[in-house]
């Protein structure tokens, strides 16, 4: 406890510069649009910082300089048309600077035309089902055994001893690098949401509706996320894992899947 206390307090103050243990910002991700999303996030953030410096600066100046204890006599002005026009109009322009790039990215994000492959993702209480539209591959993806054991109340297993605690599945979604993957989302029971921060996509899985989104991962690797829409008691236990493979490794994986009919399509 004490060790944590000692680490945490400076951690809060110096969070921005702290060690790699602290993820304090949105990941830049591995797609063109995740990088753009990150830029928009940082653009909004820096505008907020700039406005904050001006607003809080003015306020602090007033708090320090205009104190009764310094013998200040209060002024009695109660409006200034000039100031009011400026501080109404100026924010409108600042907002325009933020809105335009956000809208541009939005338009790209919604353009799911001409995909290289499509996967139907179905949410269940509490796991995902992936169905590859361009082949017979289909399987469920549930929380990995190691996390499943450790997550129980009074399990006696230290979560720190489990690799990727709560973020590991038995069968990840496997896709090739550089392919435009269209994700079609629906649900079999209640609402779920499919979220992978590194791919910068999050979309609700809704019964009776097929939602659409897409991603094109530029870097091979394993990307982890979680269900983001409250879906009942095990909402915290249905992670999303996407494995992005190089073309030849992906071909190998496909071959393995089609040969092994026992493990799929249950």
């Amino acid at each position: 406890m004490m060790r944590k206390l000692l680490c945490s307090v400076p951690g809060l103050v110096w969070a921005g510069a702290a060690s790699a243990d602290y993820a304090v910002n949105m990941p830049k991700g591995v797609t063109e649009l995740s990088a753009e999303t990150y830029e928009i996030h940082m653009l909004a953030f820096w505008w907020c910082v700039a406005i904050g410096v001006v607003v809080f600066g003015a306020m602090l100046y007033s708090l320090v300089k205009h104190r009764k204890s310094k013998g200040v006599q209060p002024a009695d002005f109660s409006h200034s048309t000039m100031a009011e026009v400026v501080w109404t109009a100026l924010p409108c322009f600042i907002l325009l600077f933020m809105a335009v790039p956000a809208a541009e990215t939005m338009i790209k994000l919604e353009d799911s035309r001409d995909p290289d492959m499509s996967v139907v993702v179905t949410g269940y209480q509490w796991r995902w089902h992936y169905d590859y539209q361009d082949s017979d591959i289909a399987f469920y993806s549930s929380l990995a055994e190691s996390s499943l054991k450790a997550r129980r109340l009074e399990s006696g297993i230290d979560p720190y001893s489990v690799e990727n605690y709560l973020l590991e599945v038995d069968n990840p979604l496997v896709v090739p690098v550089g392919a435009k993957v269209r994700v079609l989302l629906t649900s079999n029971d209640v609402l779920h949401a499919w979220w992978v921060p590194d791919l910068a996509i999050k979309k609700d899985a809704i019964p009776g509706i097929i939602n659409e989104t897409w991603f094109k991962a530029d870097v091979a690797g394993t990307y982890r996320g979680q269900c983001a829409e409250l879906c009942g008691k095990d909402h915290g236990y249905m992670p999303v894992v996407v494995e992005v493979l190089e073309a030849d490794a992906y071909a190998e994986w496909i071959a393995g899947q089609t040969a092994d009919t026992t493990g799929s399509n249950e």
């Binding site: 002024a75 409006h79 996509i201």
Partner: protein, 522 residues
């Protein structure tokens, strides 16, 4: 007749039609709910202190998040502002009481019933509602025996709010002192007038939404059931058409409170009174056309998303005007820092931080990342805790001498302020980082990479909870404080400061004469 006092014993409180008694009951009720909802928050934060499940099952965890929100929104924040309205609006506009005193009694006494029902669901088979306060179908339909009780209690809260709102509108529009034309009204009265219209507009919408849930569950309809041709997303549209104005219902009266307090302790009139009124009206109007920004991931047409993004960003303009006006009020004033002023200043600082994250959340591509993550949790707690709740503390310290006739313990008040401010930031600031790093909200357990900030937030929450006991101490010891003068503070404006402290049981049996009214305002 004018001098008759209150009944004795319990009858005074059961039968009262006096706005001050009813205001007191509302305020005490909301404080009790604040502690009940707060202890649920502590259950949540205790479980989240470390990765792994230590104390509660996920089912119960979800019941806690749901009940915490319902109780804080409908039981703590809203009734507290109605309590302030009851106490202060008649005294601020020079009216003898609320316009509809019997309905006033009724609208209060519905609340303990509504929350008795809601809290009783904790002991029902299947437990309390666990689908989040947003009650999204189809999940909410999996609630156990608690389901109809949830719907019924929401109906009762809605009825109470609507009656309270009608009463406030009728009182303000009909019972003002002579010569107090609309643009002369104090800001607290103005913001409540606007809030009351919002309440009347949206509470029936919520009632309609939950009634459709009820018929879907028990009477074979399929409003929100895909299998029967319904649409689960329609519920979200209806809910947030209520839900977004609801957000402003919880913050506009807070704007009013702060607009009363800052001029008093700056010894300077409120800067831009009229533009404050227009800004509040503008916010109220915009609140009706931004609801779908809560739903950017449900799959809307691009044009819809862009519209809701632009409309949402626009809210920053009138909100900014308010913040600039408060700073304009302080500018070249003669500031002192009594407890109400401290809470009001922290409100301006920390609400602005919540406003910043609000602007960030409006940007759709970024919102797709923030949505349903702890970033959102941080955002709305910043506007609700150091926003609404701090303004309520500010109001309580500001008017307590007027209510009780005694000064509260200033040292304890300041201690309450500094501890609350430190811990509220320790609790909610790290949540921004958690959300950006990818932690979803409403989960009972998390991956180890989120452990440190969660631990910090939990320590902060426990500290914040304990700090609130100082407030109870201040209230309980207030009677021992020095006698308050009629004006209480050095330079307050408004009719409430022209009556004795404590305010007599009946005030303004005859309307204040023009001269008194003018002195109070100008």
């Amino acid at each position: 007749m004018a001098d008759h006092g209150p009944d004795k014993g319990i009858k005074r409180w059961l039968y009262t039609t006096n706005h001050k008694d009813i205001g007191t009951m509302y305020l005490i009720f909301s404080l009790v709910m604040f502690f009940i909802g707060g202890s649920m928050a502590l259950v949540i934060r205790t479980e989240l202190m470390q990765p792994g499940l230590q104390f509660v099952h996920p089912e119960f965890f979800n019941q806690m998040t749901t009940m915490h929100a319902l109780i804080m929104v409908f039981g703590a924040v809203m009734p507290a502002f109605v309590g302030l309205a009851n106490w202060m609006i008649p005294m601020m506009i020079g009216a003898p009481d609320m316009a509809l005193p019997r309905m006033n009694n009724w609208s209060f006494w519905i609340l303990p019933v509504a929350f008795g029902i809601l809290l009783s669901t904790l002991f029902m088979p299947g437990g309390a509602p666990a689908s989040g306060w947003t009650m999204y179908p189809p999940l909410v339909l999996q609630t156990g025996d608690a389901f109809p009780f949830l719907i019924f209690s929401v109906h009762l809260m809605g009825i109470s709010s609507i009656m309270g709102a009608i009463n406030i509108i009728v009182t303000i529009l009909n019972m003002r002192a002579p010569d107090m034309w609309l643009l002369k009204m104090p800001m607290f009265v103005w913001t409540w007038l606007i809030t009351a219209y919002l309440l009347i507009a949206v509470m029936p919408v919520l009632a309609g939404a939950v009634t459709m849930l009820l018929t879907d569950q028990f009477f074979g309809t399929s409003f929100f059931l895909a299998a029967g041709g319904g649409d689960p997303v329609m519920f979200q549209h209806i809910f947030w058409f209520f839900g977004h104005p609801e957000v402003y219902i919880m913050i506009l009266p807070a704007f009013g409170v702060v607009s009363e307090i800052i001029p008093t302790f700056s010894r300077k009139p409120l800067f831009g009174h009229d533009s404050m009124v227009y800004a509040a009206s503008c916010i109220a109007f915009l609140s009706f056309i931004v609801w779908a920004h809560h739903m950017f991931t449900v799959g809307m047409p691009l044009s819809g998303q862009l519209f809701f993004m632009f409309a949402t960003m626009l809210i920053a303009v009138p909100t900014g005007v308010k913040i600039f006006n408060w700073i304009g009020t302080m500018w070249r004033g003669s500031l002192t820092f009594e407890t109400p002023m401290l809470f009001a200043l922290a409100f301006v600082f920390l609400f602005t931080i919540g406003g910043f994250s609000g602007v960030m959340l409006a940007m759709v591509p970024a919102d797709i990342q923030y949505h349903d993550s702890y970033f959102v949790v941080a955002h709305f707690h910043y506007v609700l805790v150091p926003g609404s709740i701090f303004s309520l503390f500010a109001a309580a310290y500001y008017w307590l001498p007027k209510w009780t006739g005694h000064m509260y313990n200033e040292t304890a008040g300041k201690l309450h302020f500094w501890l609350s401010t430190f811990f509220v930031n320790l609790t909610f600031f790290p949540m921004h980082f958690l959300g950006l790093a990818g932690m979803p909200r409403r989960i009972p357990d998390y991956s180890t990479q989120f452990a440190d900030f969660n631990w910090m937030a939990s320590v902060g929450a426990i500290g914040f909870g304990l700090s609130q006991l100082i407030f109870v101490y201040v209230l309980l010891t207030c009677k021992k404080g020095a006698k308050a003068t009629d004006r209480v503070w050095e330079a307050p404006k408004g009719l409430e400061w022209t009556v004795p402290s404590p305010a007599p049981y009946h005030t303004f049996d005859t309307p204040p004469v023009k001269r008194v009214a003018q002195e109070a305002f100008e």
